[in-house]
């Protein structure tokens, strides 16, 4: 079955791009942060603490997001191939054989991604140390190192994450027929993350009240945990928004009806939600901080923390944005046959594109609204702790920009991919 896995990778590399990219980016980020620990060996205590803290905080956030990204892209990639898997089963592949194939593919992709990520992680690690030099947190005599910790963390996390995701996915696929996902487990996970987020939010508003900029630590985390929790609830949220916007979507005639009845693309909601939640939360948290800091004496590390916060969040944002485009492209390309069948039933290319655009609207609306909700886990308690006002004294323009970016990313990914997928006669596409 490993041979089949290899041939799959060579025959349809496109199906693995999303998984590869998220594993690659994740490995690079984790290696960069882990390399700080390599750098920290044998340096003065203050520098050591700075390096280890940064590695822990940054690496920790990346870890969660990466695990999430790899799992969701891999699940998507495997589920897209249930036809092939059903075919393999029908010619006599046993469940364990199919499982070995899926796990084998995932491991190969992860190994490749981690290997390619090494130079990028090395470079990012140097940038991080340079940044800590500039902010004075780390003595400028300390040279960046890239060693065992970076490599083992990068390879270890990527391989283990892919392995776990592959096992979970494989078990689901090789079960008889196509079993429903287990919503209970997902919902429990969502509840757990939301609880952690709430806990961080409460800590921020109570324990960190009056602690100034230090409140950012917990406030930032509150938003990230809440984003992940809500992202896990994407199917439910999408159903809710679809029900609410249904009457409007229906105004668009047949494309609207198809958009409402089509397969639910909750996998695409997750990155939009994570992106909106984390970006909005950070931007407003920084705004509150900036206004509160006016005329105050700040601790000398305030600037460093801000810079670092921005670096971490900037990287996560970029990462999630790439994930979003990836997920959408993968999900749309997979629907080649569905689009062809619609065209055979009499839909014009314009109508199919309109349907996909309307689905995009539902996805974006769900993601942006969910993200806004998640960002409040950061903004409200931080405002209360730092500026003694829960609702921030800030213009909604920044949120508008974040939402606009989400819309543009989603729209361009979906519409362009759909265009390409609709190329050529439907009679050929339906056989693909």
């Amino acid at each position: 079955m490993i041979a089949v896995a290899l041939r799959n990778l060579r025959h349809r590399p496109g199906g693995f791009i999303a998984t590869f990219l998220s594993a690659f980016l994740g490995a690079a980020l984790i290696m960069a942060f882990a390399s700080l620990i390599d750098t920290a060996t044998g340096v003065d205590a203050a520098s050591n603490e700075s390096l280890v803290t940064t590695a822990g905080v940054g690496g920790g956030w990346c870890l969660v997001i990466v695990a999430f990204a790899v799992t969701s892209t891999l699940t998507l990639a495997v589920r897209q191939r249930d036809q092939q898997i059903a075919l393999l089963r029908s010619v006599g592949a046993t469940g364990p054989q199919v499982r070995r194939m899926i796990v084998g593919e995932a491991l190969l992709v992860a190994l490749l991604a981690a290997a390619v990520a090494v130079p990028v992680g090395w470079l990012l690690g140097r940038v991080l140390v340079k940044l800590l030099h500039n902010t004075g947190q780390v003595a400028s005599t300390i040279d960046p190192a890239f060693g065992v910790t970076a490599l083992s963390a990068g390879f270890g996390v990527t391989l283990l994450g892919s392995l776990a995701a592959a096992f979970a996915t494989a078990r689901r696929t090789s079960a008889h027929g196509r079993k429903k996902q287990r919503p209970l487990l997902r919902r429990i996970g969502a509840g757990l993350f939301l609880l952690i987020g709430t806990n961080c939010a409460i800590l921020t508003a109570t324990l960190m009240d009056g602690k100034g900029i230090d409140a950012m630590q917990t406030a930032g985390q509150a938003g990230i945990w809440a984003s992940i929790g809500l992202a896990l609830l994407a199917p439910e949220l999408l159903r809710l928004v679809t029900a609410a916007l249904g009457p409007v979507v229906r105004l668009f005639g047949a494309p609207g009806e198809l958009a409402l009845r089509g397969p639910r693309l909750s996998a695409a909601v997750m990155p939009v939600l994570l992106f909106t939640g984390i970006a909005t939360g950070t931007v407003y948290m920084q705004g509150i901080e900036d206004r509160a800091a006016v005329g105050q004496i700040e601790p000398d590390y305030a600037q460093d923390i801000q810079t670092l916060n921005y670096v971490v969040v900037g990287m996560i944002t970029l990462f999630v944005a790439i994930m979003l485009v990836n997920t959408l492209i993968a999900a749309t390309t997979h629907r080649r046959r569905e689009f062809a069948q619609q065209r055979l039933a009499g839909a014009t290319r314009g109508q199919v594109t309109a349907m996909v655009a309307l689905e995009g609207v539902l996805i974006t609306a769900t993601g942006v609204l969910g993200g806004l909700l998640a960002s409040l886990f950061t903004i409200l308690p931080f405002g209360s702790a730092r500026a003694d006002r829960i609702w921030p004294d800030a213009s909604p323009a920044a949120f508008g920009i974040v939402a606009a970016i989400a819309v543009v990313l989603t729209a361009s990914a979906v519409v362009q991919t759909t265009r390409r997928t609709l190329h050529g006669p439907a009679t050929t596409a339906v056989r693909a």
Binding site: A254, R261, G262, Q341, R343, L344, A345, G346, T348, P425
Partner: protein
């Protein structure tokens, strides 16, 4: 009798350089049931798809109900097709996310027309699917799915229905049902049906058979019987063999 479908020297060359149609001229009169037969790869599916406006011929013209299909854009072709042409595929091509009823009314809805629910029910009732309206295609048998596909092809009251091996995936009984249905559509409701098949017994349900070999017409047969068709097919194989 007026001609519903008229094909004028159709040529089709695929990207790879395969010539699937090599100058086919044919007409299908209103109220006729024609079977198209020929060896595998002789261009039957290509002929049907070009005639139905699902694909574009490389050369030649297609007229349906007096309108030239080949003279229009893809979008115009699609719009024309969904109200004037029905197509039944060997592998059904029902949308898996839509129920039986939703699948059947889809072409109408895409055309922006309200579906007459009573009529849709009546059609599905006649096809023995009256109690399966809300079912998803995956829960139907092959024969039932093909009947849904036929209902979908019928609902817009098209000028002509094309069927590409509609019984290819069905057992004998379901196949007989589908063929009887197609014949009654022609003889009781005056529609025009063009059907590709490999099965001489199926072809015998039609009023006439058109033979195709190597992308060219290779004769026809009126009032076919299964034996006569089988005989001609065997002969056709010989001729193709000699020519090759």
């Amino acid at each position: 009798m007026t001609d519903i479908v008229s094909l004028e020297s159709l040529y089709k060359t695929y990207d790879g350089g395969v010539t699937a149609l090599d100058g086919v001229t044919a007409t299908f009169p209103a109220g006729s049931f024609t079977a198209v037969m020929g060896p595998s790869g002789s261009g039957k599916s290509t002929l049907l798809q070009c005639a139905a406006g699902l694909d574009r011929p490389t050369g030649g013209r297609v007229f349906i109900d007096g309108a030239e299909l080949t003279a229009t854009s893809d979008t115009a072709m699609t719009k024309f097709r969904r109200t004037r042409v029905g197509f039944v595929f060997q592998d059904y091509n029902l949308l898996p996310a839509l129920t039986v009823e939703q699948n059947v009314v889809l072409p109408l809805r895409l055309a922006g027309r309200r579906a007459d629910r009573l009529r849709v029910r009546e059609i599905l009732d006649r096809l023995g699917l009256g109690d399966r309206l809300g079912e998803l295609p995956e829960r139907l048998s092959g024969g039932q799915r093909q009947r849904v596909a036929i209902a979908r092809a019928l609902v817009a009251e098209p000028a002509v229905i094309f069927a590409d091996e509609p019984t290819g995936a069905l057992d004998l009984r379901s196949a007989r049902e589908v063929l009887t249905l197609l014949r009654s559509i022609v003889h009781e409701h005056g529609r025009t049906v063009v059907m590709v098949t490999h099965d001489p017994v199926a072809a015998a349900y039609a009023d006439s058979v058109l033979f195709l070999a190597d992308g060219r017409l290779a004769g026809s047969l009126r009032a076919p019987t299964a034996d006569a068709v089988a005989e001609r097919l065997a002969h056709l194989g010989d001729r193709v063999g000699v020519a090759a």
